[in-house]
């Protein structure tokens, strides 16, 4: 079985490297500041051998967006959930992790397209499914939709 790594233990290890990065944790997930995301992700990949990015998804909460990264280590068969929040502003922004995992390329474009979160440092940040010139981001809760929009 893929073993979930202990959230508190990973949070402690990250804390030794980057004291201000972690904002919280639970049993299987850690929460980090979005500014520290790339630094934490690099630590997870290089020191804890999270070689495989299973998925990136985003959740639209009332106060903020939350990005959820599911990470797996194929080498060691363990997993971890990494979460970060970004404020709802003109264009919400978080660092891209494409430089670490190529698999993030389409996933970040997916989130950018449908949830409207920009990934700083992405090599080709274009909509993935909707066409250029499409207005709005369909998976946001305030998206009104409809052909006439």
């Amino acid at each position: 079985m893929t073993k979930p790594l202990s959230g508190p233990e990973v949070a402690r290890q990250i804390g030794e490297q980057s004291p201000d990065a972690v904002t919280g944790f639970d049993e299987t997930a850690i929460f980090v500041h979005s500014e520290a995301l790339l630094e934490v992700a690099r630590f997870l990949k290089e020191s804890l051998e999270f070689d495989y990015l299973t998925s990136i998804t985003a959740v639209d909460y009332f106060e903020y967006f939350e990005l959820v990264y599911h990470l797996t280590s194929i080498k060691n068969n363990y997993s971890l959930v990494l979460k970060t929040r970004c404020a709802k502003g003109e264009i919400p922004q978080v660092p891209s992790v494409v430089s670490l995992w190529q698999g993030a390329d389409f996933q970040e474009r997916d989130v950018y397209d449908l949830m409207g979160i920009a990934f700083d440092g992405h090599p080709n940040l274009k909509r993935l499914f909707m066409w250029q010139g499409f207005q709005g981001h369909p998976l946001r809760k305030d998206f009104s939709g409809g052909a006439q929009d």
Binding site: M1, T2, D51, Y52, L53, T54, I74, N77, S79, W101, Q102, G103, A104, Q107, L114, R127, L128, F129, M130, W131, P138, L139, F143, G145
Partner: protein, 267 residues
């Protein structure tokens, strides 16, 4: 005087919906070699995720059939497993076995189409594909027996499946299981050493293991690159921890390896 050359950009697709999903590739060619490619998606994006927000959990099951209509059972299962996990719904043992039977038949059926279409695209026009359709037909007959549908099954339910299997299912399944290895041998005789197949797949489209992992590739493609990773073994869901099975892998990660992995996974 050296001849001045420059790369040629061409659009491949969008393809017709009845081929491989509507999809366009922007290719950069240097002579006959593709040196760069940008995939362009979205022609068939149906917004199922958005639709699902306004439906009940149960109403969403038929949508999952349509995520990949060659693997409807598997998508049914992935969705009901997620809802069962959220709502902590137990599943009776008999239903667990039925689910595994159906998704493994689905795997064979999907691999048949994958391999048949590959050969089709390489110029073995329709003969191999029709051989494989012959066997896939038997699987579709089995599915029709259990749920009345041949493509979009809507078979899984939270806590089980929609119908128990009818009496004639097990004998028909046994006939299929007895016959299938012979058919795979037949494909192998026709194809495994075929000069054209080898020339067009060996050493082509090589995806090394480290790149495959870094690119989040999964399933037979990842295994084709030599990574012994099968989620049924690495992190078993349903009752997969009760079964012993081989995990075939490739060595070089070329098209031929991905083809072999699919052939071996059907055995």
């Amino acid at each position: 005087m050296a001849l001045k050359t420059e790369p040629l950009v061409i659009n491949m697709g969008p393809q017709h919906p009845s081929t491989h999903g509507v999809f366009r590739m922007r290719l950069v060619l240097d002579g006959e070699v593709i040196v760069d490619m940008e995939p362009i998606f979205g022609y068939l994006h149906r917004g199922i995720e958005k639709l699902a927000e306004s439906k009940t959990y149960l109403q969403n099951i038929p949508f999952t059939d349509r995520l990949d209509y060659l693997a409807s059972m598997s998508n049914n299962l992935a969705y009901v497993l997620a809802v069962e996990k959220l709502a902590q719904i137990p599943v009776p043992e008999r239903a667990e076995y039925l689910r595994v039977i159906m998704v493994e038949l689905m795997r064979i059926s999907s691999h048949l189409i994958a391999v048949g279409s590959l050969l089709n695209d390489m110029g073995a026009f329709f003969t191999p594909l029709l051989y494989m359709f012959r066997e896939r037909e038997k699987i579709m007959d089995l599915f029709e027996m259990v749920c009345g549908q041949r493509l979009t099954y809507n078979y899984m339910r939270f806590g089980g499946v929609s119908h128990d299997i009818p009496e004639e299912f097990i004998p028909a399944l046994k006939r299929f299981i007895d016959a299938m290895p012979g058919f795979i041998d037949e494909y192998d005789q026709l194809l495994a050493e075929n000069e054209i197949l080898l020339a067009r797949t060996k050493g082509i489209g090589v995806l090394p293991a480290d790149k495959a992992i870094n690119a989040s590739v999964s399933g037979p493609v990842l295994r084709g690159s030599g990574v012994k990773w099968d989620i049924r073994r690495a992190d078993p869901y349903s009752i997969y921890d009760r079964f012993d099975f081989e995990i075939p892998t490739g060595t070089t990660g070329d098209i031929y390896d991905r083809y072999r992995v699919r052939i071996e996974e059907m055995r």
